[in-house]
């Protein structure tokens, strides 16, 4: 391995945390989606690192499935964004508070 496995995992963790921060801190729906993408990529990094460490290809196969699922998810999410924008005229997540108690 070119770098210790721990470093790869740290890197993946850092990416994940940044993605999480983006999801939690941003109010724009698009930005929340982008944060999700970053988190998914961080997972992919960890998977590929694991595949390299244990010298098996299964990690990479899983990354492929991850990408496929992400595409599907993004497709529906963006369709929903369009729909929500049409309904409410805004994409600020705070405005969607119909579940407010």
């Amino acid at each position: 391995m070119i770098v210790p496995f721990a470093h790869i995992l740290l890197f993946a963790a850092a990416l994940f945390v940044m993605g999480l921060g983006c999801v939690l801190a941003r109010r724009n729906l698009i930005m929340i989606l982008i944060g999700v993408e970053i988190m998914l990529n961080a997972a992919a990094v960890a998977l590929v690192g694991g595949s390299a460490y244990w010298r098996q290809v299964d990690g990479q196969v899983f990354v492929v499935f991850l990408m496929a699922m992400t595409s599907a998810e993004v497709a529906i999410s963006l369709a929903m964004v369009v729909y929500l924008r049409r309904r409410k005229g805004t994409l600020v997540a705070d405005d969607f508070d119909g579940m407010r108690g």
Binding site: L15, I34, A44, T70, A75, Y83
Partner: protein, 172 residues
């Protein structure tokens, strides 16, 4: 040794790009920085012995998904359009620097080809191995994922359908 140096460099670039991505107000800028981050990630995947995954990262993630996001942003006119075409230094400097780093790393990788240099020691999955594993051991999962993509397509169509246009008799 060179490979690890490149790895750390690319990792730093990814993290910087991601950081810049999450802190932009303009969604288009955020998406562009994210695309850059994905480029760096693809190179990292290549470094870690997953060339096919790297290719797919580029094609699917950066090429399809982010473009789709950009498309929606522009369709919904979410980003404020620039009135002028002047770009100030604060804007283009980080992008250019990061791009230069990525470019440099790419060149280094092409020239040095660390995979071939450290053959045997590092793991490298050839497409053949990958495809064998995918369709040999994970065939069922492939089918399920393809269903999932179908559902996503149908669902996206349905959710995004414009009711008012249909009521008016136009084609949706």
């Amino acid at each position: 040794m060179v490979a690890s140096a490149v790895f750390y460099l690319l990792a730093a670039a990814t993290l910087t790009a991601t950081l810049l991505c999450v802190t932009r107000n303009n969604p288009v800028h955020a998406v562009i920085y994210l695309v850059h981050a994905f480029f760096d990630l693809a190179l990292i995947f290549y470094l870690l012995g997953a060339p096919l995954v790297a290719a797919w990262e580029m094609i699917i993630y950066a090429g399809a998904i982010m473009v789709l996001v950009l498309f929606i942003i522009m369709m919904l006119e979410l980003a404020p359009g620039g009135k002028t075409l002047t770009v100030d230094r604060q804007r283009w400097l980080p992008v250019v620097l990061l791009s230069l780093v990525t470019l440099g790393c790419t060149v280094v990788l092409i020239i040095l080809d660390p995979a071939a240099a450290a053959s045997g020691a590092a793991y490298h999955a050839t497409p053949r191995d990958f495809g064998t594993a995918l369709f040999d051991r994970y065939a069922l999962a492939v089918q399920v994922v393809s269903f999932q993509l179908l559902f996503a397509a149908v669902g996206a169509y349905y959710v995004g359908k414009d009711e008012s246009r249909e009521r008016r008799g136009e084609s949706p």
